[in-house]
Symmetry: C2
Subunit: 106 residues, 2 copies
DNA sequence: CTAAGATGCAACCGTTCGGTTGCACAGGAT
DNA sequence: ATCCTGTGCAACCGAACGGTTGCATCTTAG
């Protein structure tokens, strides 16, 4: 039903560089410069990607003095997986199980 | 690890029209013209979307006389969900459970 | 045979995307 | 006060994207 969060999440995850950023952040917080150092793109590119990820709710940021640290937030994965489970329900018993799983409260 | 299927799946799913096509197909097979009739886009647009979905392995097609019928195939969802479970593992206990679930054989 | 419906191919268009570069601004360290 | 270092803003570029239109082709229904 609600399509906008799903849209942002899938879009955010559809780019390889952005997935790399997510992977890096899943291992610990970082700022834009640090992330760019570990990827073959400029800091500006990373900043744009972080903005997209943040739009999707996949990262949060926090200003600390002159730097801005980004944190990993996988919560919106739930939306994406729910969509898949809902659409795929009945075709794959694993998706049924997933749908049940996603309804358990954190 | 292998990134190309995940890439195709997330990319395919990142477009609202394409998700609508998936939803329609999840309710039953159809040809391009039938799908286009139920969506606010041209048949040609639908055809292009079906090509993208097929690249991601999300639909299969079968020629039947003068028409070409498309079938829903949610199997690649598994790749996308695996990626999310892997990256998000440790942050959300539901993702841990999912990761275990995805390792069960069909 | 012929007409109608479905697909395929290709060109075109405006917008978005991923990425770059250049420069200005802000906050810490010394 | 001054020099780094990290951010932010904006312009720019080429490629890909989502979509359209027009036309050709193929196949079945009558």
């Amino acid at each position: 039903m609600t399509d906008w969060p799903v849209d942002a999440v899938f879009s955010a995850l559809s780019d390889p560089t952005r997935r790399s950023v997510m992977r890096l952040l899943s291992e610990g917080d970082a700022n834009a410069t640090e992330i760019a150092d570990q990827l073959p793109v400029s800091r500006q590119a990373v900043t744009k990607h972080l903005w997209a990820l943040s739009e999707a709710g996949l990262v949060t940021s926090e200003r600390d003095g002159r730097e801005k640290r980004y944190h990993f937030t996988p919560a919106p994965f739930r939306d994406a997986m729910s969509w898949m489970a809902e659409v795929g329900a009945g075709w794959d018993h694993r998706l049924d199980a997933l749908q049940r799983l996603l309804q358990t409260r954190p």
